[in-house]
């Protein structure tokens, strides 16, 4: 029984990052309208991708990010909108983190936040350019900019909440392992 629970615990632990990104994708779609000005949802899935690629990259393999990104685009887009932009965003963010891990692991939160600021700026710019190129016209960047700024200031809250869960990782508490 205990073995089973441990097994279940490990499974849940392994599935958590992917499941959370999926849940945040659905939450982005939910018609939540808190402040009037916020017509676009914050980049919650991107935050989760950044966070988990930083701390548990093995739990978010590239293929899973690809699938989640495609799902996100399929759900979000209307006709004619490109499918695959979010997948590309997620994959490039993951790769950028894996390639620069030495600057981002075991540093203070300020640096992690700075990293998020840079990478999400790149990701938003990427999707803006892609949209403009594929539709071949100028697109008002203001909503995207707004989305970026709001997400930037939400990230510390998100990171703090996520950080609360980390001390309970089996990896950080060896006695919890079977």
């Amino acid at each position: 029984m205990n073995d089973f629970l441990h097994q279940l615990d490990r499974w849940l632990y392994a599935a958590w990052p992917g499941a959370l990104v999926g849940l945040l994708i659905l939450l982005t779609m939910a018609p939540i309208r808190l402040p009037d000005a916020l017509t676009v949802a914050p980049l919650l899935p991107l935050m989760a991708v950044y966070h988990f690629c930083l701390f548990r990259a093995e739990a978010l393999p590239a293929w899973l990010l690809f699938l989640l990104g495609v799902l996100f685009d399929l759900l979000q887009g209307g006709p004619g909108t490109p499918v695959g932009v979010s997948a590309l965003q997620f994959l490039l963010v993951r790769q950028a983190i894996l390639g620069n891990q030495k600057y981002l692991v075991a540093v203070s939160f300020t640096f992690i936040w700075l990293g998020y600021a840079l990478l999400s700026a790149a990701a938003v710019t990427l999707s803006w350019i892609t949209m403009a190129l594929l539709s071949w016209r100028f697109i008002d960047p203001q909503p995207a900019l707004f989305q970026y700024v709001v997400s930037l200031f939400l990230y510390p809250i998100f990171g703090w909440v996520m950080g609360r869960g980390r001390p309970r990782d089996p990896l950080n508490a060896p006695e919890a392992r079977p």
């Binding site: 659905l26 495609v70 499918v83 995207a144």
Partner: protein, 305 residues
């Protein structure tokens, strides 16, 4: 032993290669889907419909508590300015009562004149009320998901309105869901009329809160404050649904503020006009001979609000 080590080393390098290659593969797959979506929209729409069939029940489940929270916030906000709101409504009520008597008189007069001229009315519009279960939440796509679909009689091209005015058009329909493309979306185009001058124009969404009015004719004579209504050209929309108000006419670019507010929407109405299929449908109705069309507010589509 050395052989085994060599094999292990080779295996490791192969694995490394595959890992590296898999990223390139996935990145090109992502770019590929974008291009495929540009070239072959039918395939992608089918996949999208399947994904939405799965996701809509989940979204609907999420939307209920979300709506409750939104309602609570609105209630609290409303409490704060109850007095001012009350005074405003009383004033508006007085004004509307005056309008009502005018409208009654005109309605009777209109009916009589139509009887005299044997005027043929367009099809009667029916309504389908829908719950908003999802929102694109994206910075580049402006759309909403509704919990009604083919089963309820929704079809592509139908107009979607709130009490205030038009908010968009149905673009995709599933069994139990449909997607509304909002006025502000990049790919939104709508034939409209300037209510005062009866001038035809095209409303073009460009991802900003204020869609642009591209005039088919001259821009002269359009003033700030002019109301924009649907023209009914193209066949799928009834004539005279209020769309917006002109807010600026600077250097040839006319901006329109939509009347329908899309933030915090819980319910919308889909107008079933009997004619659907904006592009592929039957030819648009013939121009009617005789007197100019009656004022928009008195048509049944507008009166149902």
């Amino acid at each position: 032993m050395a052989f085994r080590e060599a094999v292990a080393q080779a295996a490791a390098s192969v694995r490394h290669l595959v890992q590296r290659f898999s990223l390139a593969l996935l990145v090109s797959a992502a770019v590929g889907t974008m291009l495929i979506g540009k070239a072959d929209t039918v395939l992608l729409e089918r996949v999208r419909a399947a994904a939405l069939d799965l996701a809509t029940p989940l979204l609907e489940a999420i939307s209920r508590p979300v709506a409750t929270v939104n309602q609570l916030i609105t209630d609290i906000e409303d409490l704060a300015d109850l007095r001012a709101e009350n005074a405003r409504l009383r004033e508006e009520n007085a004004r509307l009562l005056a309008w009502q008597s005018v409208a009654r008189r005109l309605e009777v007069e209109n009916a009589e004149l139509r009887g005299l001229l044997n005027f043929k009315e367009g099809p009667q519009a029916g309504f389908i009320t829908a719950r908003v279960v999802g929102d694109s939440g994206s910075a580049f796509v402006r759309s909403m998901l509704l919990n009604v679909g083919r089963r309820a009689g929704v079809a592509g091209g139908q107009a979607v309105v709130t009490g205030e005015g038009l908010i968009g058009r149905i673009t995709e329909v599933g069994e139990g869901w449909s997607r509304v493309l909002l006025l502000s979306d990049l790919s939104f185009r709508l034939p409209v009329l300037v209510e005062r001058t009866r001038e035809r124009a095209i409303l073009t969404g460009d991802n900003s809160a204020m869609p642009k009015l591209s005039m088919a004719q001259s821009v002269v004579g359009i003033q700030v404050g002019d109301r924009i209504i649907t023209s009914g050209h193209g066949g799928s929309f009834p004539v005279g649904i209020p769309v917006g108000v002109v807010t600026s006419t600077t250097d040839g670019s006319i901006r329109v503020k939509p009347l329908g507010d899309t933030t915090r929407l819980e319910f919308v109405r889909v107008i079933d006009y009997g004619i659907t299929g904006l592009v592929t449908g039957p030819a648009p109705p013939q121009e009617m001979y005789g007197p100019p069309l009656p004022p928009a507010g008195l048509r049944p589509a507008g009166a149902g609000k």
